[in-house]
C-alpha cells in the first residue's frame, strides 16, 4: 500500500492532521513515475520542479484554515489538451511540440483555486482523435495491466497514470468515449459529465458540440470530489450551462432501493461473453440492493457510430483550420509562398489519424455532400437523443458495458480505422445525446479489467454517482491494482 492507493478523503485527513505533507505526496508520485513511466508512457511533460515548489508553498499552510479544502495539496495529472500557463501543452501533436500557453484552461484555474498541484501533462491520441492512444505523435501509452495492450483512448495517459499509481487523480476529455473507454480498459473510474456542466474554455477543441472534460479516479467518491471542484458555469465558455451545482459527495448515500434501471438489449448484443457476464453479475448486485432492471430497446444505437464520425470529423475539420503555422505551433521549413507555408506546416505537423478526420469532415461539409452526410447525421443525432429521452421518462439510469471487449493488443487495429471506430459503439450514443455517463470497474476477463457504464439524465450526475458508489461499496473490483 502506497500513498497513491489511498482515497482522496484519507489523504485530506492525513494532511489536515499534518501526518503527511504535500511534499510527501508529490515526492511519492514522482518516485512512482520514475519507476514505471518509461514502460507505461503516460506522461508527456513533467512539472517536477514546479510541483515541488508549489508543494513547499502549500506545506506552509498546513493546519491553517486556508488548507481546509478537500483537494488542498493533492497532486493531479492533466490531459495534454488542456492549456496550462507556462507548462508545455502539445495535444500529443508535433504541431504543438513547442507550444507554451499564456493562460490556464478554466478547469486548471479551478484546480489551482482548490490548491491542487499539477504533476504533469498526460499522453493522449493526437488532438484527442483515437481510441487506443497509438495516435500520440510522441509515443504510445501501454496498458498497466498488460504492457502489450492499449490503454484505450484518447485519454489513455490519464487512465493509465491512475491505474499505474502514477497520479492521485487526473482529468481527461471525452468526445465519443475518451474518458469512459480508457477507464474501462485500465480498471479505473471515469466520468463524462453532461455536456455544458464543465467549462471547455482552454480545452483544445476537437468537436465542440461533443467535447467534455471529466475526472478519472481510483474510486467513485474521488470522482465526486473532483467533479465538485471543476463543475460550474463559466462566462468564458458560451456553451457552458448555467445550472445549480448540487453536492455530489452528499449524494453518495448508498441507497438505491426502488431505483429503476434500463438495460438496452442493443448494448448486450455481440459483445464479448465475459464482458456480458460481468455486466449481468453487476446487475445482480444492484438488484440485491433493491434496484429493479428491465431490458429495453434503444433502436438507433447501431447508427450512432456513423453519425458520430461524420459530425465529429466535420467539427474537427473546422476547429483544426486554425493550425496554420503563423501564430503558434511549429512552422515547416520551406521557401515557397504563403499557401506553401500552410500546406507544409499542416502536412508535417498532423499525423495520419488527424489528416484522415480533417479530410472526412471537409468532404462531409463540402458542397453537394452536406445534405447527404452532415445534415443527415444531425437528424440521426436527433433520433438517438429521442431514444434516451423516451427511456428516461420511465427509468432513472441506463446501464450496460462501457466497451464491447477488454483492451486489445497494440498495433492490432491500427491499419483499420473503421474497426477501431466501432470499438466506441457503446460510448458514442451518450456523447451525441449530451447525457452524463461513467465507467466503473466491474470485473475481469482473462486478467483484463471490464467496465460497467452507468448513464443518467442530463445534469443528474448525482444519481449515476450514487448508483456507482452503491455498487462499488459491495464489490472490490476497484481495489485491484496491476503489478508492474
Amino acid at each position: 500500500m502506497t500513498l497513491l492507493d489511498l482515497r482522496l478523503q484519507e489523504l485530506h485527513n492525513q494532511l489536515s492532521k499534518k501526518e503527511l505533507s504535500v511534499t510527501d505526496l508529490v515526492g511519492e508520485a514522482f518516485a512512482r513515475i520514475k519507476e514505471h513511466d518509461e514502460r507505461v508512457g503516460a506522461y508527456l511533460t513533467l512539472n517536477e520542479e514546479g510541483a515541488h515548489a508549489e508543494a513547499a508553498r502549500l506545506d506552509n499552510k498546513l493546519g491553517s484554515d486556508e488548507a481546509k479544502g478537500l483537494l488542498f495539496g493533492l497532486p493531479a495529472g492533466i490531459k495534454d489538451n488542456m492549456v496550462t500557463e507556462g507548462l508545455r501543452t502539445t495535444c500529443a501533436s508535433q504541431f504543438l511540440s513547442n507550444y507554451n500557453p499564456i493562460y490556464d484552461a478554466t478547469v486548471v484555474t479551478k484546480l489551482k483555486q482548490a490548491e491542487t498541484v499539477t504533476i504533469g501533462k498526460l499522453n493522449m491520441d493526437e488532438f484527442a482523435m483515437g481510441g487506443s492512444n497509438e495516435n500520440s505523435s510522441f509515443h504510445p501509452v501501454r496498458n498497466p495491466w498488460d504492457l502489450t495492450r492499449v490503454p484505450g483512448g484518447s485519454s489513455g495517459g490519464s487512465a493509465a497514470a491512475v491505474a499505474a499509481g502514477e497520479a492521485y487523480f487526473t482529468l481527461g476529455s471525452d468526445t465519443g468515449g475518451s474518458i469512459r473507454q480508457p477507464a474501462s480498459y485500465c480498471g479505473v473510474v471515469g466520468l463524462k459529465p453532461t455536456y455544458g456542466l464543465v467549462s471547455r474554455y482552454g480545452l483544445v477543441a476537437f468537436a465542440s458540440s461533443l467535447d467534455q472534460i471529466g475526472p478519472i479516479t481510483k474510486n467513485v467518491e474521488d470522482a465526486a470530489y473532483v467533479l465538485q471542484a471543476i463543475a460550474g458555469h463559466d462566462a468564458k465558455d458560451s456553451t457552458s450551462a448555467n445550472v445549480d451545482i448540487p453536492d455530489y459527495v452528499s449524494a453518495l448515500s448508498g441507497e438505491i432501493s426502488g431505483l429503476k434501471i434500463a438495460v438496452p438489449k442493443e448494448y448486450l448484443d455481440g459483445i464479448d461473453p465475459q464482458v456480458k457476464a460481468a455486466v449481468l453479475e453487476a446487475l445482480r448486485v444492484l438488484e440485491g440492493l433493491g434496484a429493479e432492471w428491465e431490458e429495453v430497446s434503444l433502436p438507433h444505437t447501431e447508427y450512432a457510430v456513423a453519425a458520430y464520425y461524420l459530425l465529429a470529423s466535420s467539427e474537427a475539420s473546422s476547429n483544426l483550420s486554425r493550425f496554420d503555422g503563423v501564430r503558434y505551433g511549429v512552422r515547416a521549413e520551406q521557401g515557397g509562398n504563403l499557401l506553401d507555408l500552410y500546406l507544409d506546416s499542416r502536412s508535417q505537423g498532423f499525423g495520419p489519424e488527424v489528416k484522415r478526420r480533417i479530410m472526412l469532415g471537409t468532404y462531409a461539409l463540402s458542397s453537394g455532400y452536406y445534405d447527404a452526410y452532415y445534415l443527415k447525421a444531425q437528424k440521426v443525432r436527433t433520433l438517438i437523443k429521442q431514444d434516451f429521452d423516451r427511456t428516461f421518462e420511465k427509468y432513472d439510469v441506463i446501464i450496460g458495458p462501457t466497451a464491447p471487449t477488454t483492451a486489445f493488443q497494440l498495433g492490432s487495429q491500427v491499419d483499420d480505422p473503421l474497426t477501431m471506430y466501432l470499438n466506441d459503439i457503446l460510448t458514442i450514443p451518450m456523447s451525441l445525446a449530451g447525457v452524463p455517463a461513467m465507467s466503473v470497474p466491474c470485473g475481469f476477463a482473462d486478467g483484463l479489467p471490464v467496465g460497467l457504464q452507468i448513464i443518467g439524465k442530463a445534469f443528474d450526475e448525482s444519481t449515476i454517482l450514487r448508483v456507482a458508489h452503491a455498487y462499488e461499496a459491495h464489490t472490490d473490483h476497484h481495489k485491484h491494482r496491476p503489478s508492474l
Binding site: S238, T239, D344, L418, A458
Partner: protein, 95 residues
C-alpha cells in the same frame, strides 16, 4: 458513391493538406470504407426529423460591452514561429 484518388486530392486541397502518393492511396481506401459504412444512415427515414446541432437549448450569450485589458504584445508573440516589428512574419502574399 465511391470516391476516387482525384476526389481525395481535391478534399486535401480544400483542407490545406499536401499528400504524398502513399497517403493519397491509403486515404482513398480508408475514406471509401468509412463513407460506405456511413451509407447505413440512409436506412433511416429522416424527412420530418429536425437536425440537432447542439444538445443544449443555446441562444445568444450576451454581455456588457466593457473595455478589458488585452493580451500584451509580448504574450501574443510568445509562441509565434516568426515575428518582426510587432507583426507575424509570413512569406510574401503578393509576388
Amino acid at each position: 458513391m465511391g470516391i476516387q484518388v482525384q476526389d481525395v486530392e481535391h478534399v486535401a486541397k480544400l483542407a490545406r493538406l499536401k499528400l504524398n502518393d502513399e497517403e493519397r492511396e491509403m486515404f482513398t481506401g480508408q475514406l471509401n470504407a468509412i463513407l460506405q459504412y456511413a451509407e447505413k444512415l440512409n436506412e433511416l427515414d429522416t424527412e420530418n426529423v429536425e437536425p440537432t446541432t447542439h444538445v443544449l437549448p443555446l441562444s445568444n450569450v450576451m454581455r456588457e460591452d466593457q473595455v478589458h485589458e488585452s493580451l500584451s504584445q509580448e504574450q501574443v508573440f510568445r509562441n509565434a514561429p516568426d515575428e518582426e516589428d510587432g507583426q507575424f512574419k509570413v512569406p510574401a502574399v503578393l509576388e
